[in-house]
Amino acid sequence: MRYAGMQLLLDDIKSDLSVAQAVPAMTTDGRCMRCGQKQAVTLPIGWRYCPVCVNLGRVVEGQSLFRFEAPRFPPTASLTWQGELTHAQQQASAELCASVKAQREHLLWAVTGAGKTEMLFPAIAQLLNKGGRVGVAAPRIDVVRELAPRLAQAFAHTPMAVRYGGAPWPKQDVQLTVLTTHQLLRYYHCFDLLVIDEVDAFPFAHDAALMYAAQHAVIGSMVWLSATPDQKLLQQGRRGKIGLSTLPRRFHGYPLPVPKLAWVKKVHLPQQLPQPLLDQLKKLVTTHRVLLFVPDIDWLRPIVKALRRQLNVAVQSVHAQDEAREAKVLAFRAGEIQVMVTTTILERGVTIHRCAVVVLSADSPRFGHDALIQMAGRAGRAADSPDDPVWFYVQHYTRDLQVAITTIEQLNHMKAG
């Protein structure tokens, strides 16, 4: 049954309708049964629809949501991954397996570059072997695209589907689903294990509909992964309400590069770049590729123009909606672009060798402490250059800067466990 574990609108369904259970898509008091939100908008014709999850097809009052059962698969030996975990990874992985076995929530707090995905494999295998269903979800489509091939390789014989907006529908029932958190809205009581990567990232963080979707998509245990978990989740872990594993070290064992602060006057940005910044960049490009983060998409063009004039290297820019984004990121990884000016964190799981990070206007309100930690985490990921430089250019010392830098320092002093 190709729709096992899903909840769909009539328009989505091409077969198997008779085995589905129909429930009203909206309650009489205007709550959407797919996303759980009560923000119904009345159409001029008089009926209401849910605007919150409208991108997955419109939930309209009076219509049905069709829910499909999620039967178990036969037991198998699912893990085909041959790699080995480091000692610290092994310990976190064992804690995770214990939580999954006890069907309780677990937070895996691992710095960027700690090798989170590999640590999941034993817990995922544990459930797949028993015939259970596993979902691995991430807020951003790039992360989903990056996780999918690694999971497909680690569980080579397990039927797997990748789900994101615009991806083709699965033709058959699958045991392992890699999906955007948005697509979780289409699942109901499906996953025996649901892993949510980057819980702290947009659009999942602070999105009530997606949180509701995650909680209703799972029937077993939920695992949260984060490099920068919010205080609420951490508190729950520290108080023992949910399982907690901490991985403060990258897989290569070196500490995280600590950002250094440099002061600049911002008045003429982005039209005029301060000389100390230009000098720093000139120095960096002789040894490193540089990721230059800026707070505003309007800054990209003038800064790229200025840098092309000032530096004798290939400079490009990329932003979240950039159509050439994938190609540009590839070119940057391949070393064809030396300086990438960007407003977005790019693919988080990707390792770029010898990559320095410069954040211009790191004191901008657009950069929260979690974003600052993520940006700094782009540097030093490879074992051959764990101490890539990270520079924050600021005019004021903000609370977010302070939290970001002290968190990184704390992680560096922490022991795994």
Binding site: L43, I45, Y49, R58, V60, I297
Partner: protein, 220 residues
Amino acid sequence: MACVLCGQPIQIEWTLTKIFTLTKVRAPHLCRACLRQFTRIDQANACPGCGRADSPTLCYDCQRWQKAGYPLLHHRAVFQYDGAMKSFIQQYKGLGDWRLHVAFQDLIQPPKSTYVPIPTEAGHYQARGFDPVLGLFDHLSLHQWLEKADTPVPQAQKNRAGRLMTPQSFSVRPLVSLAQISQITLLDDLYTTGRTLYHAADALREAGFHGTITSFSLIR
């Protein structure tokens, strides 16, 4: 105020002109980042007949309408039909996200006229729960004088030749008196071949209207 596309709060830039001019300023419904995705048509370089971008002289299509004996509609449109606009239309008309009807209202300010919207087929209204054209322009005073008979194939599913062959399906509602009116501006969401709007203009003339007819759309 939150942006109707991304939900982020909108910062209104109070320029001196906005503060000192006495014209009514409508609050924007899109944030800067969302609005920037759309491409405005430079009116100074648009086709005087159909509002097509980058065609300062009368374009070939308009010359054909003229040769076929149609008085030109001197159409104006605000935005180009590019990728961003296609996905807007997909969310608004395709998914039926009614919230978006206000998205461009602060930018839709056609010259003063009597505004007559192009009507939607009854079947589409039933399925969508709203009329997308009325929605886009419901900040203006509209006169729903035209009606449309249901057609077998929707305009959107036809190619250019198919669209141009579409037979007349508009008529002026009974009891509408056009005698006192000197100018009408037809309103539509999208100008593709012009066939729809020229049919609507024909229907008004057949009903005895002798004034000027122009047209306006969000997209060209």
